[in-house]
């Protein structure tokens, strides 16, 4: 990936990736920093990072690892979402949005990641398994548990959310 290709790639995917990382981490600043750092790392190895033809997936995975790594460093016994910025950082959220955001923060990180990859990034179970490095069965279990935890905060029932 040369400089022009990288510039195009950066400008067209940055915002989307920050949105996805925010849904995974619940922290706007952390999501932005992690994605930014992932792009820096991508350019530092620009001859190699696009080997599998999925640069966006590479950035997302790297940003997630950066976020998790930072969280571990500053962890004081709490969970990632407890350290995240509170919901009031979202400008003008509706009560539903606040409730949903809070619920999402309470879902374990790997379940939240699976939910975001499936419902937001439109990846298949197999693609999620490849990106997260776990078996497909584990992905399905994480999705089911994550949805179950979120069901009370959604107007629709969990029954309407089916796994492929």
């Amino acid at each position: 990936m040369d400089r022009d290709e990288f510039t195009t790639f950066y400008t067209t995917t940055f915002h989307r990736l920050v949105g996805q990382l925010y849904a995974m981490t619940g922290d706007q600043a952390e999501a932005q920093d992690a994605v930014q750092e992932a792009f820096v790392r991508a350019w530092s190895r620009h001859g190699r990072f696009n080997r599998d033809g999925a640069p966006e997936s590479w950035i997302r995975t790297t940003a997630w690892r950066i976020a998790v790594s930072r969280w571990r460093r500053r962890r004081d016994g709490g969970r990632l979402m407890r350290l995240a910025a509170p919901a009031e950082t979202v400008p003008g959220p509706t009560p539903d949005r606040v409730a949903f955001t809070e619920a999402l923060r309470k879902v374990p990180a790997e379940q939240r990641r699976a939910i975001v990859l499936y419902h937001l990034c439109d990846l298949t179970i197999d693609q999620i398994a490849a990106e997260t490095g776990v078996p497909a069965g584990t992905v399905k279990a994480r999705l089911a548990r994550g949805r179950a935890a979120l069901t009370p905060y959604l107007r629709e029932t969990a029954a309407s959310l089916t796994i492929e």
Partner: protein, 209 residues
Amino acid sequence: MSDLNDQLMHLATDAAGRARPAAVTEVIRRGNRRRTRTITQRSVSGLCALGIGAAAILSTMAGQHSTGQAPAASGSGTKLTTITEHTTSPGWNMTTTVTYRDERNGRIQIYSLTFSGWSKLGLKRPADATISASRLYSNKASIAVIQMKVKGTHDFSGELSPSLIKSFNSNRGFAATEIVTINLPVPNLDKISGKHASSGSFTTGLVLI
């Protein structure tokens, strides 16, 4: 809005809208700096180990340095210095000779660099010897890697061509006290026992003192 997809989409869209990306030039600048740092760390860690050995060798060879006359084109008045280093290990040996002049401004002008040796195992064909050097100055890293063609497999030799020397001296050059290493790729190196037989190449080092 009520299903999971819509909720997530709105959440992500809001966050994406608030994202403030750094300029791509800044990302590229940081990426370049990160790459340089990574290369430096790898090189320095290898060179540190090598440098200890090289320094020991050179300290015993201090009396072997011969000096010649400066070339006619020289205007600095400094003399040429020639360092010859013999590296011997079970299964191979190599002699490297470097002639250079210290410009007394921290820079070294190379005049010739040759090597020759013998190996029980043949070198890889086609073989390229790699000269590498790394230094830090003003918190910036400078890495030099030069490739040279090697003649022969068991009895091998090579030199830095005059055109490469000229180009290198005018572009980067070496610095005084910089460690210069020469690597020769060797297949099946594990068949040779010895302290230098672990990296897949014969390595010898010199400090331009």
